[in-house]
């Protein structure tokens, strides 16, 4: 069973959940209100996000507040780093070509 951050963000519903709880912690019910799917399916997504260590949960009485572990999102950023180098190099090369063309 693959359980990494790339798996976590592959599903559009999970990306939407991430966007919601990035702003403020929310209960499963409150999250589910934003989708036209059942509360249980949201709970399953939350479990997956939890297994990927992408979210925190805090029990408050009978409610559980979920929030985003923002630092985990940085892992994607780290992975992207190698490609960012490539596209910036290409962009600079393009700039050089353009400025050379301009001079001629």
């Amino acid at each position: 069973m693959r359980r990494d951050i790339f798996q976590a963000i592959a599903d559009p519903t999970r990306r939407a959940i991430i966007a919601l709880i990035a702003v403020q912690s929310m209960t499963p019910n409150a999250i589910a209100e934003n989708f036209n799917t059942s509360r249980q399916s949201i709970s399953k997504h939350l479990r997956i996000l939890s297994e990927c260590e992408l979210i925190n949960q805090e029990q408050q009485g009978r409610e559980i507040y979920y929030s985003l572990k923002i630092e985990k999102m940085k892992e994607i950023d780290d992975w992207l780093e190698q490609y960012r180098n490539i596209w910036e190099t290409r962009f600079n090369q393009l700039e050089n070509i353009l400025s050379r063309l301009k001079k001629e």
Copy 2:
């Protein structure tokens, strides 16, 4: 059928293919040599990457050279932007707290 860049990078084999062809364009056979899976399964991954518009292909005789559309990777970076703001803010807040503690 979901076919977006997040789907594309969800699979570890596809991430490895992306890493390979980011450096230089390669044929399916050459790519497959780097994995212990069949050429056909690599071809299927290439088709998915193609449907996500993540790769270019260039026919050369009977060989097809695949390369990464690096600018497409930037889409992930754009999506990350919103979260980058959050984690940088939090980091700055932490820094402020630390420097205040230091002064006291």
